[in-house]
Structures are given as structure tokens and as C-alpha cells.
Symmetry: C3
Subunit: 155 residues, 3 copies
């Protein structure tokens, strides 16, 4: 069932991945220029800014997680998604409790998103290999991915 | 075809649901602290704020509607989506026409999103029941859901 | 495989299309009132505003591209997606390099999104034709769509 689905959506997945890379480029530009609202004075501005940063990254996260889950294997993708949610929770709480001198940056959960991105690329690459050469490394790749997802727990 | 699809994505759906709950937590924090831009002075600031509030909730709505439609039944999910769009239209128009003393809150359409969330949970729960016990309540659940979606029309 | 998938999601696709039209209505309202932050003074405000405008349109783009790819054909949808990403890159870079007198508008890539929207509508219409009348124009439609997607290259 996987290969049938991937056959019909792999071009869409590739475009989604490129758009995610572009999003990361935009976010890096914002991060380089400075944090959103450099000196948030009130508690409301802090929570509003934290919420906006989280919401900005939410479609990117959804797109990468679903592509990774559909193209390769859902278990490591869902595990990485859980890790991302924990990181996001910590980011939000940490943003609110901060004094105004040192707010966290614009981006967060970079490692998890990078892992999901790698999963998508490996899944697409594996599909193309199977399609054109007939050799199927998917089971090995899935085992390696499941093992690698445990590495995300290392702080 | 439903059960095949749900079998391959149910972990992703669960993570998506948890992220939706986290979004709701963030939004409640923002709502508790105050509205976005407490006293919007000009017409432009009002329409910009209304647009941003709508856009912030858009990925959450898309994710919940698609998960509900894929996991349980598309007809009630699409009907609830239509209701949500009507509520959003009213919110946007009402936001622009408001005087600055009393703007509507940050969140809207809470009941519809809650209904879609319930549909997802019921669909996942039903899939797990079928998978582990073999009893299939899906038809009963779909009938009840279709009937319950009519309740959303009550103001 | 296409017809099976479309049969189970076409109501969701229709609701998504209506929500995209509503998004466009909101964005037009914002555009009519003025640009976001009319006179961005610093470089940080410019890049932050450009990033926010891009992020606001991102879920809309993802939804339309995936619906178009699933309902009709993935190749023209992915091609239009690539064009959209190029337009977005130009928009972002152009926004940062602008002097404060003339910033680009709130919306961009309107033609590409309109093309993807048309693809969705044609796909749904074609599915309903096949479902109720049994005549299948899908192959002709796909050829016409692939040819029409080349028109997007015209500046």
C-alpha cells in the first residue's frame, strides 16, 4: 500500500520539502536580524510573541511529519513528532518565564525537523531506487530510522 | 479502504491531535492575557489583527478536519467544516465592524473544532477496537456522528 | 487508485477550496486597507513582515497543491508548486531590498494559486461526471492541464 501511495505523491513530497527548506531560509534571516519584538515589555507581548513563533512553524512541522510518515514509516515519525511537541512546550513556557534581557531565538526544534526532513529524503530516494532498479532497502532503512530516532532523546 | 488507510496513519493522527490540544493551550494563554493589540486604533490594524487571528487557527482547522474525514466519515466532517467557515466569516466581519471598546476574543469556532476533535478520537478508538477485538461499531458510530453534527446548528 | 481516493475525500476537498476562497477574501481586505506595517523603518521590521506575509499564505498553498495533486495529476501540481516557490523567493528578497516608499503588496503568487484552484475544481468536477454519467474525460483534462501549466512561465 505504501508504494502505491508514494508513487502518486512523490513529486508533491519533493516540492513540499523544497518549500520547507525555503521556510528555514526565511526563518534564519529573521533570526539573524534579531528576535521578534526585541524587548517585549509586558507579559501579554511575551505570550503573544511566543504563540506567533510557534504558529509560524506549525504548518512546516505538520507537512514534514506527514510526508515522513507516509513515505517511510509512521512509528519513528510519530515519535519525532512527540519529541517536537515536548520541545515546543518547553520553548513556550521558557519564553513566558524569561526576563526581557535574554529571550530564546525565533526557531526551535531544529534537530527534530532536520531528522524528519532526512526521513522524507530517504523515503523518496528509496522509492526511486525501488522503482528504477528493483532493489528494496526499505526494511533496512526502517530499522535504521527507528534506531536513529532514539538519538533524538539525547539533549 | 478506510481501515487500510487508518492502519498506516493512526500514529500520525494521534500526534496531530496532541499538537492541536497544545495549540489550544497556547491560544488560551494568549486569550487570558488579553486580546491581540488591545486597543486597535485604525481600521487597518483591526483588519490586520482579524486576519492574523484567522490565519493562526487555519492549520489547526485543516489538520483536524482532514483527520476526522479520513478516520471516520467525510460527510459530517465536511458539514462541520462548512459551519466553521460560516463562523469564521461572522468573526471577521464582526471584528471589522466593532468599536475599539469590545473586540471579540482571540479564539472562535471552539465548538466546531471540539466536535471534529471528538470525531478523530472516536475514529482512532474505533480502529483500535476493530484491530484488537474484531468488533466493528463503525456503522453505528457514523450514524450517531451524522446525527450529532446537526446539533452544531444550534446557536 | 485515484478514483478510490477521490471518492473518499471529495467533500473535504470542496470545503478546503471554499476555505481557500475565504482566505483570499480576507487577504484582499488586508491588501485594500494597506500593507502590513505601512512604513517599516528598520531592516528587522522589513524581514519580519516579509516572513509573516509568506507564512500567512503557506497553509493555503500547501492545501491547494495537495488537493490538486491528489484529485487530478501530480506532475502539473508539482510544477506549479515550484513556480510558486520561485515567486515567493523573489518576493522575499525584493521585500528586503526595498526602500520604505514602495513595498510590495500583501499577496503574491496569485496566478499560481488560481491555477491550482482551477485544477482542484476540474478534478472534482471530472470525478462527479465519471461517478454519475460514466464518461471519463480525465485523460484529456490531464493533457490540457499539463499544457496549460507551461503558460505559468509567461511573466
Amino acid at each position: 500500500m505504501y508504494s502505491i501511495v508514494v508513487e502518486h505523491i512523490y513529486l508533491l513530497v519533493i516540492v513540499t520539502l523544497i518549500s520547507v527548506l525555503q521556510n528555514a531560509f526565511f526563518a534564519l534571516k529573521v533570526e539573524k536580524e534579531g528576535n521578534c519584538q526585541n524587548i517585549p515589555t509586558s507579559a501579554f507581548e511575551r505570550v503573544c510573541c511566543a504563540n506567533r513563533n510557534c504558529m509560524d512553524a506549525y504548518p512546516t512541522f505538520l507537512a514534514v511529519m506527514w510526508c515522513a510518515g507516509l513515505c517511510l514509516n509512521q512509528a519513528p515519525a510519530a515519535f519525532a513528532g512527540i519529541i517536537y511537541l515536548v520541545v515546543r512546550q518547553k520553548y513556550f513556557v521558557g519564553y513566558m518565564g524569561q526576563t526581557s534581557q535574554s529571550t530564546p531565538g525565533y526557531m526551535f526544534g531544529k534537530r527534530v525537523l532536520f531528522f524528519l526532513l532526512m526521513m522524507c529524503i530517504v523515503g523518496i530516494f528509496n522509492y526511486l531506487l525501488v522503482h528504477y532498479y528493483g532493489s528494496d532497502y526499505k526494511e533496512y532503512v526502517e530499522i535504521i530510522t527507528s534506531a536513529a530516532s532514539a538519538l533524538l532523546l539525547i539533549p
